[in-house]
Amino acid sequence: AQVEGLHFQVSAALREGRVSPAELCQRCLSLIKGTKFLNAYITVAEETALRQAEESEKRYRRGQPLGVLDGIPVAVKDNFNTAGIETTCASNMLKGYISPYNATVVQKLLDQGAVLLGKTNLDEFAMGSGSTDGVFGPVRNPWSYSRQYKEKSVPKSHSEDKESNWVITGGSSGGSAAAVSSFTCFAALGSDTGGSTRNPAAHCGVVGLKPTYGLISRHGLIPLVNSMDVPGILTRCVDDAAVVLGSLAGHDPKDSTTIQDNFKPFELPNLTDVSKLSIGIPKEYHAPGLSSEILALWSKAADLFKDAGAKVIEVSLPHTRYSIVCYHVLCTAEVASNMARFDGLEYGHRSDMNKSTESMYAATRREGFNDVVRGRILSGNYFLLKQNYENYFVKAQKVRRLIANDFVKVFRSGVDVLLTPTTLTDAVPYMEFIKEDNRTRSAQDDVLTQAANMAGLPAINVPTALSERGLPVGLQFIGRSFQEKQLLSVAKWFEKQVKFPMIQLEEVKRHEHGVFQHQKSASFS
């Protein structure tokens, strides 16, 4: 059966009165309660969500919905400011901080009538690739509880609690990915600086879109790396991502790094002919540590395009392996600067130390930041020292240009879209993940996603197949600057070909939603 975008389906259901916004909201809220063990949400804004749902219902009754997003429950990563709702960045530094304003992207969603269910969990200040390092604890991948995973996992001993077998979501937008994956919302916002939207999307089997830098406003997104951060979009299908993108993109006078070009929301065509497409396969993305499973999937995907008549060619992005090093320097340097605003004076945690401003700041930051954040601040300050500035910071900026130029050359040679893996392996169990420290993990896990942030290019993870362990594996498409329509069209075509299976979660009583098309067909692998 043809699977329509869930937005279109659920929107149609709302328009036709088959389900009401309040009912939809209630179901999502109760599902959130039923999946609390995932720890995907930090704050659930139950009262305001129900109120928003009621307002939406009034509009539908009058026959005047604001648009496709009216009444649609969404979730937002907890590093976006949300007026009247706590915004913590999963850090002690911002516990109790109630935003006085909405981030532009949040405001846009609300203006379209979306229902904000709550704020999702993340690595502290979005630093990490596991969503394990926040003060509210790690996020659990919903697939850990899926029938698909349980069938494939062999308990090592009778006494071993299957609880300890759960796998990570990836990060840092793990809460958002888990929320979408477990059906507690229809779309979620994440952020993407080095892969933080695409990585958890791959591990949780959802679509994760990183838009071109400058397309979507960062106003109200608590910044990590100003020159690389973008708001990310997580949905269950590519069509939905296009809808959300359409409502968020465009110039924002409050963010001077958004481009001024007119953005026209688009509907994705149903591509049937890909023979005019040129797909590039960057050989350097066959990175050390890439699992043979994912390598095989990547190869199969390339063949899929070839068999459909597209031109599939191997290309080279020679500076790929330095991307992660470059990122490490630029990220820590910008972090050192961005984190300087947290001093306890105007908002957030404040230490009781009162001897001097400096000692108060130092104590506040000592108490408020975790090891990861402190480590990056200190490293960043090191690279920015006068004696190191040229050799590290400026050097990294030069390497950044080389990385960006690699992409320019490849796209100039006629390639439309690049096809790469998103992650090196499927999701690892939490117990295994925490054996290595955050920096090592980030360096390993960001390898395939990071370069797109360096170059500011749009990229998207499309869930492709299940691994041998029954966990999602995704593939990544990287497009030309501001060519989201082409990128998403290709992604949508691919999504249709691979027919990624739906997660089978006992907790999700899908018949309640009643607007699903159940995807039961031969899977890609």
Binding site: S227, S256, A362, Q397, R439, A455
Partner: protein
């Protein structure tokens, strides 16, 4: 090259964040080692890149007041305040020197 205690102390002053223990210092050492790989790349004649949008003009809006007057809102989040002021401890008092500070670096 080992990072000297002077540099570590200097960093704690600049960042107003402490290393806390040897693990923190080791973390920095590893970070530097990792970053050193950059020197393998030949960047002769390459200009540093500040932003991927360098070819475009930054948007400058008109210098008109469009919002503000939200003193009450903003003060809500501050822990220490008096009337419309944020209250800070006395300034112009530098952090004590290494020997007098409560930092683990003292032991080294």
């Amino acid at each position: 090259p080992q990072v000297t205690v002077e540099v570590l102390d200097h960093l704690e002053h600049l960042a107003l964040v402490d290393f806390r223990d040897w693990e923190g210092v080791e973390r920095l050492q590893k970070a530097i080692q990792f970053a050193d790989q950059l020197h393998e790349v030949n960047t002769d004649g390459v200009e540093p890149m500040d932003s991927v949008l360098e070819d475009r003009c930054l948007y400058l809006r008109e210098d008109d007041v469009t919002e503000g007057n939200c003193t009450k809102e903003l003060l809500k989040n501050a822990k220490e305040k008096v009337e419309e002021y944020f209250v800070a401890p006395p300034g112009n008092i530098p952090l004590p020197k290494l020997e007098e500070r409560d930092t683990f670096l003292q032991g080294s």
